[in-house]
């Protein structure tokens, strides 16, 4: 199946006032009306999945996803308990949560599913789901906000989710439950006296909303650190929801945005913002932080000897076919400086002044180690690998074989490349190519294939002249 997409995105406020007491304050009732409008937009969108990233559910062991198909309980806010209780009973897509969890792991993230009776679903998620999905018509998933996560971890979390949406053909709505400025009054106030805590907070909130109205979501994501410093109480290390929402929208800057409401709740900046993927026609990015596909941050704190991944890299021979000595028919060129074949064939064969090379992978001569890591371990469990390191190692091996034949990398005429995961790897492969063979200028064909005989992601077939 293919063709899944994020059909709508929303920023929504977290405090319980919109559910429990909208009538007490004009601003709260406007937020409630905007929430109701958002519910209508979602209902008309044909969406079949709601995905909530909630800033009011902190986690420590990576990210957590609710996977109880029908969580039910009564939510009472820690501060605003006098407004009353919210009974909830939600429709959760447990299967999607489990698949997302697996995608996270394959991208190097810590994450887990949570399915326990009575698990306290956080106020932001309860408010958002109660108002956006009033009849529980559309199944939902909820993900926590990791207290230690920074941009790369949050971005990769979103990419794992987005890819899964595509792969499973879902029509999904991405929702961040969050405040803009999050400073509340630290004293009790009369409902009628509510306003944004300070002029500075208000100015920043309006600046963010102006960006979002122009559909410049990625720019807001890249301003996250500044926003955190300016208008966020330093509860957590960073202002993360915009990183997540932007990555859910392919880090685009040309969405169609509309602010449905912007008001204060007990001083905090609260907005309902609608973002639609239709290109707005505006758009270059003002900033350009790096793209990040897999998370490779510090995670091995429990294992201070050697991680299982490193072990696998150093002994991939346990993890692949038998190795052969190269064959030696007339014109064959073989070298100890290239990895041993996995069948009865030579490294290269010379005909006239042309050299035909057998398919070359990234394995290292002698050790068989795979630079950038193997694509799976000995049990077939997927591992993260670095396509750039693998591609570079392929080119180095090609170079050694050509030198053994009295030629060099500068004489390559034609290359056929094989990638086992075109979507994931083409970009990295192409970058290394551009810096190496791209400068030599051979013709090139790149194919996606299902597998290679060893746990590698890239192989090249080369024709060169002597």
């Amino acid at each position: 199946m293919s063709g899944g997409e994020i059909v709508e995105s929303f920023v929504v406020p977290v405090h319980p006032h919109t559910v429990l007491a909208p009538q007490q304050n004009e601003g709260w009732s406007k937020l409630r009306a905007a929430y109701d409008d958002a519910a209508e937009i979602i209902s008309n969108s044909g969406a079949d999945l709601l995905i909530i990233y909630s800033t009011t559910w902190p986690s420590i062991i990576g990210h957590q996803m609710i996977s109880d198909p029908n969580p039910e309980w009564v939510m009472v806010d820690h501060d605003f308990h006098d407004l009353g209780s919210i009974n909830y009973s939600f429709n959760i897509d447990a299967e999607f949560a489990a698949q997302w969890n697996a995608e996270n792991h394959s991208r190097g993230l810590q994450s887990r599913c949570v399915n326990y009776r009575g698990f306290p679903i956080d106020v932001g998620s309860v408010v958002a789901l109660t108002l956006l999905n009033p009849d529980n018509k559309i199944p939902a998933v909820i993900v926590s906000s990791n207290v230690y996560a920074d941009r790369s971890e949050t971005t990769v979390l979103a990419k794992a989710c987005r890819d899964l949406v595509k792969k499973t053909g879902r029509k999904a709505v991405a929702i961040t439950a969050m405040s803009l400025s999050n400073r509340m009054f630290t004293e009790h106030i009369e409902a009628k006296n509510d306003k944004i805590h300070s002029l500075k907070d208000d100015e920043w909130n309006r600046k963010i909303l102006e960006f979002l109205t122009e559909g410049r979501l990625e720019d807001v994501g890249q301003l996250s650190r500044t926003i955190q410093q300016q208008i966020r109480v330093q509860k957590v290390v960073n202002f993360k929801p915009m990183w997540w929402l932007s990555a859910m929208n392919e880090n685009r800057n040309d969405l169609t945005g509309k602010v449905l409401a912007y008001e204060a709740i007990h001083g905090a900046g609260c907005a309902v913002v609608h973002l639609n993927p239709t290109p707005s026609g505006v758009g270059d990015k003002e900033y350009d932080e790096d793209e990040v596909e897999v998370f490779s941050g510090e995670r091995g704190v429990l294992d201070n000897i050697v991680s299982s991944e490193e072990e696998t890299i150093s002994s991939p021979a346990d993890n692949g076919p038998e190795l052969w000595d190269p064959t030696n028919a007339e014109g064959s060129v073989n070298t100890d400086a290239a990895p041993k074949p996995v069948g009865a064939y030579p490294h290269a064969r010379r005909v006239g002044d042309l050299l035909y090379l057998s398919g070359v992978g990234p394995r290292q001569p002698g050790t068989n180690a795979i630079p950038g890591g193997p694509i799976h371990d000995g049990n077939g469990k997927s591992l993260n690998y670095d396509i750039k390191a693998q591609t570079q190692a392929v080119i180095d091996n090609i170079s050694r074989i050509l030198e053994e034949a009295g030629s060099s990398i500068d004489n390559v005429l034609d290359v056929t490349s094989f990638l086992i995961d075109m979507d994931r790897d083409f970009k990295g492969y192409n970058e290394v190519w551009a810096d190496t063979l791209g400068k030599v200028g051979p013709t090139r064909t790149t194919l996606a294939i299902r597998a290679l005989p060893t746990p590698i992601a890239v192989e090249m077939k080369v024709i060169a002249k002597i």
Partner: protein
């Protein structure tokens, strides 16, 4: 009416792991033990206080986080299931907890008169936080004494450790006054860890003690420094260094419980009893008693 008194004050941390490791009937998950240093520490604390009489326990936990002042549980009884939002695999505890609402209200009123923002919590659906429950269970598993449960005002997040300390010193002072006026004998508990940097991974068996250690040497040094001050009766230095400690060790003293505790005890200058120290998922935890009952009239 006889004058009330604080009979003891304790630093009594609350990682849910230690309740999990004890396997009490109230908790759903089952463990093969673990974190014994801390659980033995709690045993020694309970033993130390077994002949000391008291009427109520006053506890401040950083996991009832309030941004609008300090709140107090305000109904006689709370019963429900507490599931830790961060470690739900370890802590799903069926609690039944009685509150000394009268004493809570007395502290509330005094705090109000002193200009602090306060509120009584009277929503019967409210779920008591797992920090309070863990400390309550480990301190007195019988659950036969009423509690006063005080929320953690996040003034540290809104302002600074210094402002937080000022407010918690004041809250501690009025807590003490209210207790003395109440005629009751009370134990006060600060429910918090010391250094508070967690691992972000969990071992397959959470109670696998071969994986448990402090997250970094710097955290260890900070914890030992603070414990030395406690053992040698230098609580003013604890207060003085709290901002640095809280920031550098990412300490859970940010919730104000520890400062509040020291203030209720009038910043003691006598040695505390260290009952135990251990790490939990990388964070540093000490169980410490200030035996006020031994220092009457000093």
């Amino acid at each position: 009416m006889a004058k009330g008194e604080i009979v003891a004050g304790c630093l009594a941390p609350h990682p849910p792991h230690i309740v999990y490791a004890e396997n009490p009937p109230q908790n759903e998950p089952v463990a093969e033990g673990g974190w014994e240093q801390l659980r033995w520490g709690y045993e020694r604390l309970r033993e130390s206080l077994k002949d000391v009489e008291y009427d109520a326990i006053v506890v401040l936990s950083p996991h009832w986080q309030t941004y609008i002042g300090t709140h107090f549980l305000g109904l006689d009884n709370f019963q429900s299931l507490s599931v830790d939002p961060i470690f739900p695999n370890l802590f799903r505890y069926h609690y039944d907890l009685n509150v000394d609402v009268e004493l809570a209200k007395q502290i509330h009123d005094k705090a109000h008169d002193a200009g602090l923002t306060v509120k009584m919590m009277t929503n019967p659906d409210f779920r008591v936080d797992y920090g309070t429950i863990t400390t309550g269970h480990m301190f007195r598993p019988e659950w036969d004494k009423p509690l006063v449960v005080i929320s953690s005002n996040r003034s540290r997040d809104y302002y600074s450790v210094e402002v937080m300390q000022e407010m918690m010193m004041e809250l501690g002072r009025v807590t003490r006054e209210a207790i003395l006026d109440s005629g009751k004998k009370v134990v006060v508990l600060a429910s918090n860890s010391l250094s508070h940097r967690h691992f972000t991974t969990e071992s397959k068996i959470p109670e696998d003690m071969s994986k448990e250690h402090i997250t970094s040497h710097a955290m260890h040094l900070w914890d030992m420094r603070m414990i030395d001050y406690m053992k040698s009766g230098q609580c003013q230095r604890l207060i003085d260094e709290m901002p640095e400690f809280t920031e550098q060790a990412i300490a859970e003293t940010d919730g104000g419980a520890f400062t509040w505790l020291l203030s209720t005890l009038e910043v003691p200058d006598y040695p505390a009893i260290l009952h135990g120290y251990g790490t939990i998922i990388g964070t540093g935890n000490a169980i410490v008693e200030w035996p006020v009952y031994q220092h009457k009239g000093e």
